[in-house]
């Protein structure tokens, strides 16, 4: 296997009923769920750019800026590492945008980080990880100050949600991590902030239940990466909430772009609807902060 030219293919995908790279580029794909910086930092991201290029992804929103699952606020990250990533985001603002992890068990410190990285920095949003050291889910009242500030800043708000089966009695969400939100938590938050767009990540994992939990809340968008690709998932979600509320995520490099692209390719959507799901809807909610920062939409 040679990594020389990401745009070179031994066979034409169109011969197999698939979109070509040019077709994918025309869909203007924005990746709401990019983990390229998660483990390998900038180097890992740059290595992964081969696949970003190959699959025609236009822009990635990275969810791991200056924070980790164990340390969402990034207190253990060296200042020079933070400076390095900040400069990288400023220099590559045409291709990659940053969301910063926050920690709802530390709302004051979370707001301080938002001021530093969003109000006075290159980042465009916040990310709730799948759990946090304090075990606080997104529906807890601690989040109100965080969401109010995010709304003031026009920040994109991404909330990881899952419903892992388990517990006693066995139930969806019964095996969740401490502080790992469910779509039902997002619904409670959405009720308190009906004018603030919220992105319910992973469709709750168990998408048949997750979609229904947030369906009544028009300000909740559904991102559906990070779970196995089930045929019919996107058709179902569009039927329940409308195509204007779906947002695509790639979840690379841990998930294959093929996995996530196929969820949409499987669905009975028009070209215009695919444009909406692959990036149009995300560009709509990100437009205010992108315009503020002078980023290309």
């Amino acid at each position: 296997m040679t990594l020389a030219d990401p745009r070179s293919f031994a066979l034409n995908p169109a011969a197999f009923g698939l979109p070509t790279r040019d077709d994918l580029v025309k869909l203007r794909i924005w990746d709401m769920h990019y983990h390229g910086f998660m483990n390998g930092g900038i180097r890992g991201h740059e290595e992964n750019m081969f696949y970003v290029e190959r699959m025609g992804i236009e822009r990635m929103l990275s969810l791991d800026i200056a924070g980790t699952g164990a340390d969402p606020l990034g207190n253990s990250i060296a200042p020079e590492k933070k400076r390095e990533i900040r400069e990288y985001l400023e220099q590559h603002a045409d291709r990659v945008s940053g969301l910063i992890p926050i920690d709802p068990s530390q709302p004051v410190e979370s707001c301080r980080k938002m001021e530093e990285w969003i109000a006075r920095g290159p980042c465009v949003g916040i990310k709730y990880y799948g759990g946090n050291p304090g075990g606080v889910v997104c529906s807890h009242e601690n989040n109100d100050a965080i969401i109010r500030l995010a709304a003031e800043l026009n920040a994109v708000i991404y909330i990881h949600t899952w419903m892992k089966i388990g517990g006693k009695p066995r139930r969806p969400g019964g095996d969740n991590e401490r502080g790992e939100s469910t779509p039902m938590d997002v619904a409670l938050l959405a009720r308190r902030f009906p004018d603030v767009p919220l992105v319910c990540g992973h469709s709750g994992g168990d998408w048949e239940l997750g979609v229904r939990a947030v369906r009544p809340f028009k300000n909740v968008y559904i991102e559906f990466s990070g779970s196995d690709p089930h045929s019919g998932q996107v058709d179902y979600t569009v039927r329940e909430v409308g195509v204007e509320r779906l947002i695509w995520g790639g979840h690379g490099p841990s998930r294959s772009y093929s996995t996530e692209l196929s969820k949409v390719l499987d669905a009975d959507l028009t070209h215009d609807q695919r444009l909406q799901v692959f990036g149009g809807n995300l560009r709509r909610i990100a437009a205010p902060i992108f315009k503020q920062k002078g980023y290309k939409l």
């Binding site: 296997m1 040679t2 990594l3 020389a4 030219d5 990401p6 070179s8 293919f9 031994a10 066979l11 034409n12 995908p13 011969a15 197999f16 009923g17 698939l18 992964n48 081969f50 696949y51 190959r54 699959m55 899952w162 419903m163 892992k164 089966i165 009695p169 066995r170 139930r171 969806p172 095996d175 994992g205 168990d206 048949e208 779970s227 196995d228 690709p229 089930h230 045929s231 019919g232 058709d235 690379g252 490099p253 841990s254 998930r255 294959s256 772009y257 093929s258 996995t259 692209l261 196929s262 969820k263 390719l265 499987d266």
Partner: protein
């Protein structure tokens, strides 16, 4: 290369079904392929056809599937240049009357398979009289292989019956497909409790039956765990790519740099499998292009390895 594996039409399939069991169906398919290659001599090279080794028919017990209808599934596969698909039955997953499920599967493939579907029956070595199910799959339904569901059927790889089944299947020249997972355990229905299968005893079992032709289906890296090196070095087991994850996952798996696999799997041991209609068949297809694979690697993945396995 693209003309080597022509699909067989319905009449060909019926004729193949009437031959003696001693002559495996695969041999008939191979002779058809050779004929097609001769017919295609001189034709312009085309993209290779694909053999999908991991398809199921009918409905998943817990959800209506978009392509549960066999006609719709076959049309979908054809749209993606999949000209042969090894089809199991979702009815075999939870039904106790496996013979009825196998019979219906054989009938459906014969009547609606359009020359694309090759029936792969199911046997549960943990249940009494499984030898008769195996015999019927082979002799009565003319199936070239059987598919096992250890997680759903409640047996492990160190049980003597499992090893005996491998041995019996090998004597009959039957392929054994072992389904390591059908659905992510995190989203199983709350009324079921189906833990991940323990793969660790598998290499030893396969070493006891070196003549067995075995393929692992939906063999995701985390399920294989630390067993990849032993399975690759010490056995001849093959794998499908339906559950191979990660950006460039297939290429990285071949290279040994796929983070979710603890070891490399050579391209000669990988087969195309889509897990359709549970997964969109576009998923596995796109994986072939997400990795920068050579034409030679693609041909192996798309059909050559599968032909070799079932032949």
């Amino acid at each position: 290369m693209g003309q080597l594996m022509r699909s067989i039409d319905r009449r060909s399939f019926v004729k193949a079904s009437l031959i003696p069991a001693a002559l495996p169906l695969a041999a008939v398919l191979a002779s058809r392929s050779a004929l097609s290659a001769q017919q295609a001599a001189g034709a312009a090279p085309a993209a290779p056809d694909i053999i999908d080794t991991n398809v199921h028919l009918f409905d998943w017990p817990f959800r209506k599937l978009k392509y549960a209808n066999t006609d719709a599934l076959v049309a979908k596969l054809r749209n993606h240049r999949i000209t042969q698909a090894w089809a199991g039955s979702f009815e075999a997953v939870l039904n106790k009357q496996l013979d009825a499920a196998n019979r219906r599967l054989a009938d459906e493939c014969g009547i609606r398979g359009g020359g694309v579907l090759i029936p792969i029956g199911s046997v549960n070595p943990a249940w009494a009289d499984w030898e008769e199910d195996l015999r019927r799959c082979h002799e009565q339904y003319r199936m070239p292989g059987v598919r096992l569901y250890p997680a759903y059927h409640g047996f492990t790889f160190d049980q003597p019956e499992f090893i005996r089944l491998l041995d019996d299947a090998a004597k009959r020249g039957l392929l054994v497909q072992i389904v390591l997972r059908l659905e992510d355990e995190r989203v199983h229905h709350f009324a079921t409790n189906i833990p991940p299968i323990n793969v660790t005893p598998l290499a030893d079992a396969l070493k006891k039956t070196p003549q067995a032709k075995v393929q692992l289906i939906n063999s995701a890296g985390p399920l294989l765990g630390n067993n990849v090196p032993a399975l690759v070095r010490e056995t001849q087991v093959t794998f499908d790519i339906a559950a191979t994850e990660g950006n460039g996952g297939v290429g990285r798996l071949i290279e040994g740099t796929n983070y979710s696999y603890r070891g490399a799997i050579p391209v000669g041991r990988l087969l195309f499998g889509s897990h359709a209609p549970f997964f969109p068949c576009e998923c596995a297809l796109m994986k072939l292009f997400e990795s920068p694979l050579s034409l030679e690697q693609l041909e192996k993945l798309m059909n050559a390895n599968a032909r070799r396995l079932i032949g």
